[in-house]
Amino acid sequence: MSDSSRAIRRQAELAGKPRASAVWLIYMREMRDQLRDRRTLFTIAVLPIMLYPLVGMLLLQIAQFTRQNPTSVCLIGTENIEGAPPLFEGETFAPELIEQPDALELLTYRWDELSADRPVRDKANEWVKTGAFDLVVLIPPGFKDNELMGDLVGTETKSTSAEENGESDIELLFNVGSDQSVVARQRVAGVLAAWRGEWIKERLSGVGIDAEMLLPFEWSDTDIAPERTREAAFWSKLLPFIMLVWAMTGAFYPAVDLVAGEKERGTLETLLCSPALRSEIVWGKLGAVASFSMLTALLNAGSMLLTSSLVFQHMGVGGAGAALGAPPLVPMLWLFVALVPLSCLFSALALAVAAMAQSSKEGQYYLMPLMMVTLPLVMLPMLPGTTLNIGTSLIPVSGMFLLVRALVEGQYGTALFYVPMVATVTGSCLWLAARWARRQFEDEAVLFGGGEQWELGMWVRHLWRDRQIAATPAQAYACGAIVLVTLFFARLTISEMPQDFAGIAKLVMMPQVLIVFPALIMATMLTTSVRQSLRLRMPHWTTLPLAVLFGITLHPSYVMLSKMINHVYPVSEEAAAAMKPFAEQIASAPWAAVVLLMALVPAICEELAFRGFIFGGLVREKGKLRAVVLTAIMFGISHGVLQQSIAASVMGIALGWITLRTGSIVPCILIHFTNNALSVSLGRIADSGWSAAPVFLTQTELGPSYQPFWTLISMGIAVTCLLYFGTVSPATDESESELVGSHHDYVDPTASLASA
């Protein structure tokens, strides 16, 4: 009997695991299916091969067109510079004053030629406004007074004569709305500066001084970067971007076709009732989508590379002489190493998102939001000055992007240091995305639901009529979004730091009210039980003193974490200065008021909203991990300041786990309160003269800090507390029940069969 039961158990274990052969079979079918599809072939093969040469051709055409359109400059008042060093020569400026004189067209007028009917300035104004000229140089009659030799001794007489004659300075009329005009202004300003230099030289030589003698030093620029690096730097910025955008696009269309399209055509149900496991279907489809994503990215990037390097060579981009050629190929191989995980990541995301659509058409609508979320991650590394460091290496996609750039540029040492971080982040993102995709395939509502007409009135009625004991995941998401958005706008309204305690109290209370209010309103309106939806349950009594102990012993670690974060992302001096009056006010206010304001209120408000309403919604439908991670992230973001956000997110994970284990927010309120209360009281405890204080605390120039030995011991106690929390049985397990309160019991079929 035990043998057979063991055999059954082993069989059941094997039954749940995806078989490689089935995954391969599904993968091969999806690949063949996509390759037989005209649209897919067009995107991955025809488009890159045709598009880039066509675009390249167009670019060349446009380049020729722009070259034939040089900057036009008008110079008025030629008679006023007679006797000065030569400024222009025929249709352009004097050759010693200007580089590339061909790209500039110069038309000259005498001042009196134009001043007949109306003021010259008005006429010139109109020319620039209408674009007849990109730039007009006005040399007024008063300029004549600037004699070449000047009056090197008696400047006073000169200035009076200038005043009499009206305007005597050269004026450049340009239009900032036109790029060409701005460029023209820069160039002509350069010409005028050079011309003035000539003038100075002549004046100096007039009084017998050699101009060369006045120059204390010269400098020269040398770019030591070898050709290879310069090209690598250019391509390592551009190419990953192109590749990732195409990897996203290349993942999305097949994903829509393979999930939403199959749903629409009815073939998904055929596949679901075959012996293939859901996980096998997901892995097979994921593989196919990722393959297409990579293929699209490679073909597009390759084609673009080839075409653009040819075009660039032709156009001579990349500085005088050194045309930008094709990128060095070997470093570019690193790109492909990065492409594999990122393609898989995008594919899993696309698959999970596409699963929500009922038809291909609906699926197309989801591309834009997905792009909006991922594109900033791809854009971030393109920003100037973004380099690989601890902070950026922890950002998904961006970190990988920067790592690849370091590899392409040959900084292997730096790259190697960050590989573990980037790999961990990418790996966990990949795991989460794949998990989400799998969950989507196990969800009946996703696979078969939807399709019904949506109507506002009906929806409102549904919200009221179908209220449940706790929030639904959708309501929890909505609550989180409302809280974060209102906080964002509320923070924008704060213009200056208040100078008295009442102002600070207002400042602290406002976000707390904004956090707790949506949760309370939604709990009252959208659920049948406020107490259950806010998770105000009584946990096992032992968890309460334990929570206080945990709060106390966790605090040293929390302080250490905050210090570490401040080290990696230092607070700017302005921000620190802005916070100073705040800290001073807090330090001088009565202790009870400070604890009430900074510890009790946040502990209650934030826990009610994050670990209460939002957690209660997200934890349902088997969302334990989702609830812990997302509430921690929302909790972090709600703190507004980057340094605090990171520390709060980490704290949020611990709080989320504890509330999951206890099924209540009461321990979390206690922990949160203890933590905040200690944070605001450390200074007072250190100053209190309590004899035991020096055992735990030391005074440093940055304020009180924990003794290292106590930090170590407290960590041990905190971990023990955490372990204990792991053993308590929760007040209720919300995650398993689809409808909280309804018993979703499952009877053993063999037992009932025996009776039948």
Partner: protein, 269 residues
Amino acid sequence: MIHVQHLTKTYEDLQRGRFVAVDGISFSVQKGEIFGLLGPNGAGKTTVLRILSTVLEPTEGIATVAGYDVVRDSAAVRRHIGFVSNNTAIYDRMTAWEMVEYFGRLHGMKSTTLKRRLEDLFDQLRMNDFRDVPGGKMSTGMKQKVSIARAMIHDPPVLVFDEATLGLDVLVARNLLGVIRSLREAGKCLIFSTHIMSEVERLCDRIAIMYCGKILDSGTLEELRDRHREDDFEELFFGLLSQHEQEMRVGGRIDHPSAANHGVGEQLV
């Protein structure tokens, strides 16, 4: 081969709120028997059959197919069942042969046996003339044949036909009924759902009449006729439906699966 007990399935629905699609039904089907599930559209037939094919999970109750539980041993159930439905379409960009072969492979069949089985099936269902036609270019009848071949490729002991004659012309539908009869001769266990009464009369050994998620009555054709003293099957069907509607109106809305309803379901086993 098929046992269904107190099976209930509820959906969240925007318009109706919590909607009970299948309401505590029970029935069982033996080997060599064709069980007819008769009911108007929206009666819950497809939901029941989708639960049997493990595509949906029941909210409450138990269903076993060939001795395997549809929730716990869903993979084993799928290996022992062939499911043909008008919702189970075929791939547009695969030929008839590739399509059936693909599902044979998913069942883990060896190449040689698979090839022999494919040849047999294509002969038996007269599919050889469109072997290499891609799904997108097939007629409805051809598609249905491919679907049946797909469901039969692994020679399952249980076959489920959900509104399988929908949209077929008379000739093809007749052909299909012939195939189903021959499957009964081979000792298979068959469920056949439809809203066409004549098909049920001609084909099924036992019938369950489903309406609003409930089985109103079940038994052989003769048993039903005797019980309701009505020779004309169509009259019998409408009589049962209107009787149920009246009961609903008198007893108020009985929408929730309660203990009382379970009792009703049990009598029908």
